[in-house]
């Protein structure tokens, strides 16, 4: 099992240092599919980077450690310090966009054998790959093609193949289906499920799409403003969540046949440059009290296998019931609807004014060198 011990990951920028992941402490058991969900800027992508071991300026592990629970070829335990050597051998990654992850001028088969985990014995590896891709529904000749010759769905399967054919213990998937249409999305999800059932590895899955989480994952981790706020079995997370944020997230999902008005979540997450004391969700939380604003709730196990970080877990069922009583859209007349919208806007401004939210996506943007911005049109014509 993967143990994250008080992981703090920070970005060092010109403005200073910012903790994108601020003290995540949890255990991920073997052989499960874990989904990480949360808004933009909650730190899920950073957590993935930490889990993969992709730490390099400006990202660093300020404190804490990750223990992966297995040993490498030398018999040493694999931790955040040496996981880089296990890339694609024991830990692999499925990136978001398949088209931009494959080198367009080199055949796909070359890209299966050009990294340390496979380059020792290319012929044997390729034979294995050809056989493997057949199992996931691709013709063996597909790897002889160039990336642009395959369709989007086929390319994403190639990415899945790349990540799984060496049967790693841990697979990290950062929104692998977001860029795909729903039909292909379903195929890939089913594929992942199938592979996981056979190989019994751990898949850690990041997605914005709660629907995908529901279909695919066994457990879920909900993150907010750099902190883990809830961690538990998926079914329970949806049916009986133990954190108000989770509840508001899941209740925003539309369902066929249910035409009740949805309540969104006004406002935006706090700036991580100056996070609020106490519970970080307090500014937007309908259950917030003075205690919440001063004392930070720890992540504790409330039910077996299900932890949450909230002072007022007991009041959540009431909130759930209140949300369920929302009127049907047909019942809402225009005046009430307008009042509702105005109320939401007002609350949003209130929250923004106090929280001084900075654009959270600043965190994940890679550093772009200034020379790159515009290639100077060569004054070659002017000599």
């Amino acid at each position: 099992m993967i143990q994250l011990k008080n992981v703090v990951a920070e970005y060092t920028t010109k403005r200073g240092r910012m903790k994108a992941v601020d003290g995540v402490d949890l255990v991920i058991p073997d052989g499960v599919i874990v989904g990480i969900a949360g808004e933009s800027g909650c730190g899920k992508s950073t957590l993935m980077k930490v889990l993969y071991g992709d730490l390099g300026f400006p990202l660093s592990l300020a404190s804490g450690s990750v223990d992966y629970g297995f040993t490498n070829d030398k018999g040493q335990p694999v931790t955040d310090a040496n996981v880089q050597r296990e890339w694609f051998r024991h830990v692999s990654i499925i990136p978001q966009s398949s088209m931009s992850s494959l080198n367009p001028v080199i055949r796909i088969r070359e890209q299966f054998v050009d990294f340390p985990a496979t380059s020792k014995d290319k012929k044997a590896t390729l034979a294995k790959v050809r056989e493997f891709v057949q199992r996931i529904g691709l013709p063996p000749e597909s790897i002889d093609a160039y990336p642009h010759q395959l369709s989007g769905g086929m390319r994403q399967r190639i990415m899945v193949a790349l990540a799984t054919f060496l049967e790693p213990e841990v697979i990290l998937a950062d929104e692998p289906t977001t860029a795909l249409d729903v039909v292909v999305q379903k195929e890939i999800l089913l594929l992942l499920l199938e592979l996981q059932e056979k190989m019994r590895n751990t898949i850690i899955f990041v997605s914005h799409d709660m629907g995908v989480h529901y279909q695919l994952t066994h457990q879920m981790l909900i993150m907010y403003a750099g902190k883990a706020v809830e961690h538990g079995p998926t079914e329970e997370i949806f049916r009986a969540p133990l954190h108000p944020y989770t509840l508001l997230l899941t209740s925003a999902l539309p369902t066929i046949g249910d035409d009740r008005a949805r309540q969104g979540l006004p406002g935006s997450p706090p700036s991580l440059w100056d996070p609020p004391k106490g519970c970080r969700f307090a500014p937007r939380c309908p259950l917030a009290t003075e205690k919440c604003r001063t004392e930070e709730p720890p992540l504790v196990e409330v039910r077996p296998g299900h932890s949450s970080a909230c002072h007022h877990i007991d009041r959540i069922p009431q909130l759930q019931a209140d949300l369920a009583k929302a009127p049907s859209l047909d019942d809402l007349d225009e005046a009430r609807l307008l009042a509702q919208v105005q109320e939401n806007l007002r609350r949003e401004h209130e929250i923004d004014a106090t929280a001084d939210a900075a654009p959270p996506s600043e965190v994940d943007r890679p550093e772009i060198p200034s020379e790159v911005a515009d290639t100077v049109a060569p004054a070659g014509g002017e000599r």
Binding site: P369, E371, V372, G381, E382, R383
Partner: protein, 250 residues
Amino acid sequence: MLLHFDFGPSFTSYPKPVSEIILAAMPWTIGLLVTSTVIAWLLGNLVGIIAGYYNKRRFATALEVVGIVLYPIPYYVLALTVVLVLAYYLGWFPITSTFLPGPLTPQRVIWILYNSALPALTLILAGFGWNILSMKSLAVATKEEGYVQFARLKGVPDWRRMNRYVFRNALLPQLTALVLSLGTIFNGALLTEMIFAYPGIGLLMRTAAGAGDYNLLYGTITTAIIAVATAAFILDLIYPLFDPRIRLKG
């Protein structure tokens, strides 16, 4: 007239036909041009990719400065500087090149190379600078591409990423840029020939202009334009060899 490549007789070397004179000069120009362009392009790209891939290190900035300093210097200045330094002050090469007619003995070949060194060096220096700069910025941009990042996450070592991922992809726009700058390179070559009295088309053009030999002038100009167009055409044909997306339609 064009189809037969017959421009009539030259006024100054009557009655020698212009086409004969031009054909005699062509190999010189082509030899000089092709050699120096290839060397400048290869060297420049090599330096550029290293400077671009390792662009955070200090030597990369140093290399870039070399490019910055070389690039804006016009051809005639480079030519004269080369002559001043290497021929006049250091005396390693002759100040003006002399080419004696005669059969192609190995001795003569060396003599030719020796006398062509300075004009070639000028052209190489001139093209080198721009190649470094553009390749560097292309390399820096390509480094950010998804497939390069993914290759890194697979554990592909630096040198292989630089070559097979960044270089192979950055080369494509560089090739296109080469086609666009053919006109400039040609201009520079002509000027260099004139300054060095190198027996190519450039010198012919100059003497024709000075002497009022309109047939010869007309002939050389036309040849020059056709040459550039042909080179561009050839390069356009070569491009698909480098880019499978064009070579093989999905």
